[in-house]
């Protein structure tokens, strides 16, 4: 929300509302250095990720160095500096899915989107991550786009699924 991304320069422009929100979160935690992790957690839950500009703002508010904030952000795998795509793709690499060819599916998605795990396409539409078991082993291999689950996915299905989303979200067509 409220972040304008300049995709070419990997810079983001924070709106006044966004700045006010980050400041409010810092104030809620009394600007305490010891609360840095909680502050980052709260901010990421609002924005989806922690771009450099937000980390700089938090450092300024707490009067600590940006290097320190960045150190914490990179230490915990929960924190991310990369915005997720509009349609985040998660592929299950749990045992059941793996033995039924999830790796081929993963490679196919990488090839189709030309991104690696943890990355987002330049148009901001898709991001790719893998996870360990979504509890639908009967449908293996399983792929999720946002909240929607695709089961028994074959390599040939990947292109079709992606093109559906490129044309507009199949689950929420009205939002396009």
């Amino acid at each position: 929300m409220e972040i304008t991304r300049d995709l070419k320069n990997h810079k983001v422009q924070l709106s006044e509302n966004a700045i006010a929100l980050v400041k409010k979160i810092c104030r809620r935690f009394n600007y305490e250095e010891g609360e840095l992790i909680n502050i980052l957690h709260a901010v990421q839950s609002q924005f989806g990720y922690l771009p450099a500009e937000i980390q700089e703002l938090i450092a300024k508010e707490l009067d600590i160095s940006v290097a320190k904030v960045y150190g914490v952000v990179t230490f915990y795998s929960f924190f991310t500096m990369k915005p997720k795509g509009k349609y985040p793709i998660s592929l299950c690499m749990g045992t059941a899915c793996y033995v039924r060819g999830a790796e081929n599916i993963l490679n196919e998605i990488k090839r189709q989107l030309n991104i690696d795990e943890g990355e987002t396409t330049p148009d901001g539409l898709f991001s790719l991550s893998s996870l360990r078991c979504v509890g639908a082993c009967g449908l293996a291999p399983v792929l999720m786009v946002g909240e929607k689950v695709y089961g028994r996915v074959a390599q040939a299905d990947v292109r079709k699924i992606i093109s559906e989303y490129k044309a507009g979200c199949p689950t929420h067509p009205s939002k396009e």
Partner: protein, 599 residues
């Protein structure tokens, strides 16, 4: 004070409660090897993350070995520091560190001065039993400091210096586990960060991960070019430390041998930055008196205190962190840059040599001077006033390279006229020295009376923050002194809040002042070395026949012949500078990092 008694390697020792096992062992002559640990006693600087585990010892009754640098000595402890179990574990630990360290000792800038190398020798390691993935990081070359993080062993000493001591806050550990490394935020280059290039990270790095940007090659090329006239200047703190690189006792003055070595190296003129320090005092002292007199006459536009501006790391620090205070420091250039300006103008004219054919080389105890020389405002049509800066360490490499037997050299004098200097200029090399030199001159110019006593003991010392009041014939002059940027920050915050009680403040970035600079021979954690260098500086001052800057006959001549008087238009043009707000601008400041190999 509660005392505890313990036994270390069958020796009984009594220490105050709170003492670490490592310190207790040292008391009975047991030197437990360490790597990440560093303690600079009289500067109150300590790094003990307990991370490297090299200092492990066996404590009777405990299952696991304990790191002695972070384990408190308790009553009745029985410790073995060199049992077979300890020795084997310690060796394994060092081997594991080496398994992720480039085996480039032969070509490493730190070879011979590397704590990890010394440890491997001490452990008798002849073969490595482990091999695996190695850390690979992009090299970061700034104008002053090179970061080669493949060699980083995560001792965190640089982080302690950058954050706790200097409060610059550029370096932090990032990522986790095998991928962790010390880096600026967002893994940006040092050049794009708020790094001041103070070089204290370089001074404490135990390995070759942080080093100065070497320019010895470029200086050799200049010296071997028959079209160039090469002039050298040497900063005051260099003569008090260079001898250490040739096995001499810390605190041995080698002024004469240094001049002789520079002449043997082929410099056409062997001059002294000290002369420029005298010149700095003339300008800065006059500026102080000017501001002071106007203040006393009720001029409310006058900014007091006046801050010394000799230290380029300190200047960059204020530019990044206190942009609202940029009118507080003296506008006088640093001695290095005053020397460069006088050399490339006055001296070049005298020799009838084009400034582009005159090469000015500085020998400095400092790595920030490498950055300072490249600042845009210190160049004319792209030709810098100072072309190359070598650290004390680099000069020693050059001397060794040229096969000069330093210790048997005769003592020689500097060349004239820019080698003439006073005792006041020599003490620029230590904390408290610049302000003492300024007071010696300002007192006599203000009171028009000779000083009853040249030495101001009240301005001397090693405490990080000091203050003194000097009686200027009835006018009490309040003086503040800070060394270490963390201490400087405290004085600056007072000024920003309008609470500063001082008329004049001296700031040096490095603990101890320039004698503890990032370009000096490595002290390997022995802070008594800094004290000895400081004593050497004061000794040199006492030996000088003239001890006040305004009595330097060449300074006199230079104003008569060329500059007019202090703070004249010409003096302003050549000897004064301005400061820039860098608080948000993380762009490259046109530093000539790519022009190294020209000339």
């Amino acid at each position: 004070m509660k005392m505890v008694t313990l036994t270390i390697d069958n020796k009984t020792v009594e220490v105050p409660k709170g003492t670490t096992v490592l310190e207790a062992a040292a008391k009975v002559g047991v030197e437990i090897p360490t790597l990440c640990h560093m303690k600079l006693d009289n500067l109150e600087i300590e790094n003990k993350p307990g991370g490297c585990r090299v200092c492990l010892v066996e404590i009777q009754g405990r299952k696991n070995l304990a790191p002695s640098c972070v384990t408190e000595a308790t009553d009745g402890m029985v410790i073995k520091s060199s049992s077979i179990r300890v020795i084997n574990t310690r060796r394994t630990i060092v081997e594991l560190i080496l398994s992720d360290h480039p085996a480039e000792c032969l070509t490493c800038a730190k070879s011979g001065n590397c704590d990890l190398q010394s440890l491997a020798i001490k452990m008798g390691i002849r073969e490595l039993h482990f091999s695996g993935e190695k850390s690979v990081h992009r090299e970061d070359k700034s104008p002053a400091i090179i970061r080669d993080m493949d060699k980083c062993i995560m001792c965190r000493r640089c982080e302690t210096m950058c954050n706790e001591v200097q409060t610059v806050g550029v370096l932090s550990a990032i990522n986790r586990g095998f991928n962790s490394v010390v880096s600026p935020a967002f893994e940006q280059d040092l050049q794009d960060s708020a790094c001041t290039y103070c070089g204290q990270c370089v001074a404490v790095c135990p390995v070759g991960a942080l080093t100065e940007r070497d320019q010895t090659g470029a200086v050799i090329r200049a010296l071997s070019n028959p079209d160039k006239t090469v002039v050298v200047q040497t900063a005051p703190a260099v003569r008090a430390a260079l001898g250490e690189e040739f096995g001499q006792e810390a605190g041995t003055l080698v002024t004469g041998k240094m001049a002789a070595a520079l002449r043997r190296l082929g410099f056409n003129y062997v001059f002294d930055t000290d002369f420029a320090a005298d010149l700095t005092i003339m300008e800065e002292g006059t500026e102080l008196l000017d501001r002071l007199t106007r203040h006393l006459n009720g001029d409310s536009t006058v900014k007091l205190p006046i801050l010394t501006s000799c230290c380029p790391a300190w200047v960059k620090f204020i530019e990044h962190n206190f942009p609202s205070l940029l009118d507080v420091p003296s506008t006088a250039k640093s001695p290095q840059q005053m020397f460069g300006a006088v050399a490339k103008n006055y001296f070049a004219e005298k020799l009838n040599v084009d400034r582009k054919k005159l090469v000015v080389v500085s020998i400095m105890p400092c790595v920030a001077k490498k950055y300072e020389r490249g600042r845009d405002e210190f160049a004319v049509d792209g030709n810098s006033d100072v072309d190359f800066v070598l650290t004390t360490r680099e000069l020693s490499h050059l001397i060794k390279l040229a096969n000069i037997d330093f210790n048997t050299l005769p003592d020689e004098e500097f060349d004239q006229p820019m080698g003439m200097s006073t005792g006041a200029s020599v003490i620029f090399g230590t904390t408290g020295g610049v302000i003492e030199a300024a007071v010696r001159t300002a007192y006599e110019l203000y009171t028009k009376k000779p000083l009853p006593k040249v030495e101001f003991e009240e301005l001397r010392g090693m405490e990080g923050l000091r203050h003194a009041t000097i009686d200027f014939a009835g006018l009490p002059l309040h003086i503040g002194i800070a060394h270490g940027l963390g201490n400087a920050r405290k004085l600056l915050e007072e000024i920003a809040a309008g609470r500063s009680q001082y008329h004049a403040i001296e700031i040096m970035s490095c603990p101890g002042g320039c004698i503890g600079g990032g370009g000096q021979p490595f002290h390997h954690g022995k802070s008594e070395i800094l004290k000895k260098r400081q004593q050497a500086i004061y000794q040199e001052d006492r030996k000088k026949p003239i001890r006040k800057s305004h009595e330097n006959p060449f300074i006199y001549q230079l104003y008569e012949e060329y500059l007019g008087e202090p703070m004249s238009d010409k003096a302003h043009h050549l000897l004064h500078t301005k400061y820039f707000d860098r608080s948000t601008v993380f762009e490259q400041d046109g530093n000539a990092s790519e022009t190294d190999d020209k000339n």
